[in-house]
């Protein structure tokens, strides 16, 4: 922010702005297509009308009602499942990452350097390489096809630990902690009441990133879950799409459900990003990322 205002040089280059305009159109086209076509019924979709404009009959409410009642309202369940996985995975991963990052930054303990090197190495391990062995381990424990199969592996967020470590190291001065200890506060209380408030901006960021990662996850739940009542919305819509493409003729109504389902499923995250804009944009303007 400060950089911007200090520059104070309002420059408007028309060609660049026009170029930006084209880019914005490109990035918005899929959204526009989904918004337009989720208003159509099967005849509007397949009737050969303009695919980038509304049909004569705009029927959002009818389609919405169909979406949330189809197959005993399975779509609503999927949205709730996604929400549960995102909150449980996000909050859990954040708590673990905040504690571990703080521990790595503020305590010298045995094997600390080695452990931290392991965490950094873990950043380079592709997450999907873990899914198959985790599945076999979980099936031995009878955990596959339960919500735990999706939530537990989501608790692992080495990048969150790394971010929290860097942040705690720079934002929480040792002197403050020592002062709190000298005043008789225990280690836990020092962490919760002194260090944690100082780390809050990074905590919000790690929480947002972990929750988004859980919400977007596809490979893990696809592998772990077979009961479609446990699916998150990503796997659910993938399932519908597979069914609809497999027998195109018989399931024309499913297509309009998928289109509206895609639109409805992206609304929560778009709202989250817009309302939390101040957090991530405020953070951005400081330019701190590391």
């Amino acid at each position: 922010m400060s950089a911007r205002s200090r520059a104070r040089r309002p420059q408007r280059h028309l060609p660049l702005q026009v170029l930006l305009g084209f880019l914005v159109v490109y990035f918005l086209v899929p959204f526009w297509w989904v918004i337009v076509n989720s208003s159509k019924d099967a005849s509007g979709l397949f009737g050969g009308g303009n695919t980038l404009w509304f049909a004569d009959r705009i029927d959002y409410l009818g389609n919405l009602q169909q979406l949330f009642t189809y197959d005993n309202g399975i779509y609503g369940r999927w949205i709730l499942n996604s929400t549960l996985y995102a909150i449980a995975g996000g909050v859990g991963a954040t708590i673990l990452a905040v504690m571990a990052g703080y521990g790595f930054a503020k305590y010298r303990f045995a094997a600390r350097r080695f452990s931290f090197a392991l965490v950094l190495g873990a950043l380079m391990v592709p997450a999907t390489a873990l899914v198959i062995p985790t599945f076999i381990m979980f099936s031995g424990l009878g955990l596959t096809n339960t919500i735990w199969a999706v939530i537990l592996p989501s608790l692992l967020n080495p990048f969150g630990v790394y971010l929290m470590h860097v942040y705690a190291r720079d934002a929480v001065p040792d002197e403050i902690l020592d002062a709190a200890r000298a005043d008789g506060a225990g280690e836990l209380r020092t962490f919760l009441q002194v260090a944690f408030p100082l780390m809050r901006p990074a905590v919000v960021t790690v929480l947002l990133l972990s929750a988004v990662a859980s919400w977007n996850n596809y490979f893990l739940p696809l592998a772990m879950l077979s009961d479609n009542r446990l699916f998150p919305v990503t796997v659910g819509l993938g399932l519908w799409q597979g069914i609809a493409s497999a027998n195109n003729a018989g399931t024309t109504s499913l297509w309009s459900l998928i289109i509206l389902g895609a639109l409805v499923s992206v609304i929560p995250l778009i709202i989250a990003f817009f309302t939390l804009q101040r957090h991530w944009r405020g953070g951005l303007s400081v330019g701190g990322l590391r």
Partner: protein
């Protein structure tokens, strides 16, 4: 690109230092030591109660994550390695075969063609994404208006969309039945390109991935650009530098660490390519096989054919290649940068 490691975006309190992005690398630990120089830690020769207490508290804070780390990272990796050393035969049951599965993988046309695809795909899509992101970030950094602020948000928007939903949406746009391409090309009497055909699926996927991630990378680069001290530009202008020179000689070198970071993360993401081709498979019948990418092949081996040993071997080989590749890349760039 199932779970690309989230990174970026958070503020640091009153610390407007130059946005240095240290690439995660064991060297980092040296930095940490610098921040708090202490006597050598000797776990067994503890000097008094205070040191013991510090060890204990440190492990109490790190411990919960450590358990998750062991259970969901170390254990699966070790188990995948273990499983990959066995083969299940119809006659004779499971037997130890040492590296046979790996020999099989690296001579398996399915695994090799999938690997070749993701390598080609990385070589095309990653530079495209990063150049697009860099260009957009530079424009948004140089031009300020209400419209550019709006554009920034709109370009970032696809990041909020799960990759699966992004692929579903583009699948519709590519589709002959309800995509707009037929209409648009029909206006000029031309046949529309079929991005779901085997000729063009590569570009169809490049487009989806670029759409999904370019905005996110743009935001990271934009943040880094905003962190540059504007007096540098004033000084350069005094010296007669033009707008292009400022961008090329000052801005881009100063955000090189951020560029390196997104390069590494996009590499890790692209090599484990899965979601988009898996989703488009049902639309592009015959174009995308079950062995389209190594990850899809491992999925098919494990879950469709219940061949967990071979699936584990592919997973482990892929993970190993990614890990070694990224590590070597970081090592290489680190070395070269220090000469600059």
């Amino acid at each position: 690109m199932t779970t690309r490691v989230g990174h970026a975006v958070f503020g640091r309190p009153a610390h407007p230092r130059f946005p240095s992005i240290d690439i995660p690398e064991p060297k980092m630990t040296l930095l940490i030591e610098k921040s708090a120089p202490r006597t050598q830690e000797k776990p067994h020769k503890v000097r008094g109660k205070v040191r013991l207490r510090e060890h204990l508290m440190g492990w109490l804070f790190v411990g919960p994550f450590g358990i998750v780390f062991l259970a969901f990272l170390i254990a699966p990796l070790a188990y995948a390695l273990y499983l990959s050393l066995f083969q299940k035969k119809l006659i004779g049951g499971t037997s130890f075969v040492l590296l046979d599965n790996y020999v099989k993988a690296f001579t398996d046309p399915s695994f090799l063609s999938g690997s070749w695809f993701v390598i080609r795909f990385s070589l095309v899509s990653i530079p495209l994404q990063i150049i697009a992101a860099l260009a957009m970030a530079l424009i948004l950094d140089a031009v300020t208006s209400l419209f550019t602020r709006f554009s920034r948000l709109m370009i970032f928007l696809p990041y909020a969309i799960p990759t699966v939903i992004g692929a579903v949406m583009w699948g519709f746009l590519y589709s002959k039945s309800f995509g707009p391409l037929t209409d648009i090309f029909g206006l000029f009497g031309a046949t529309p390109p079929d991005f779901l055909s085997s000729n063009l699926i590569f570009y169809g996927l490049v487009n989806i991935v670029t759409w999904q991630w370019a905005g996110y990378y743009m935001i990271i680069l934009y943040a880094a650009l905003q962190g540059i001290d504007p007096t540098l530009y004033e000084a350069a202008r005094m010296d007669g530098a033009g707008r292009w020179q400022i961008a090329l000689r000052i801005k881009i070198p100063l955000i090189a660490p951020a560029l390196l970071l997104i390069l590494v993360f996009s590499l890790i993401g692209t090599l484990q390519f899965f979601n988009e081709p898996q989703i488009l498979r049902s639309l592009a019948a015959g174009t995308i096989g079950p062995d389209f990418t190594p990850n899809m092949y491992a999925y098919q081996q494990a879950f469709a054919l219940a061949n967990f040993n071979y699936g584990s071997a592919i997973s482990f080989a892929l993970g190993g290649i990614v890990f070694i590749g990224v590590y070597a890349f970081l090592f290489f760039t680190r070395k070269r940068r220090s000469f600059l």
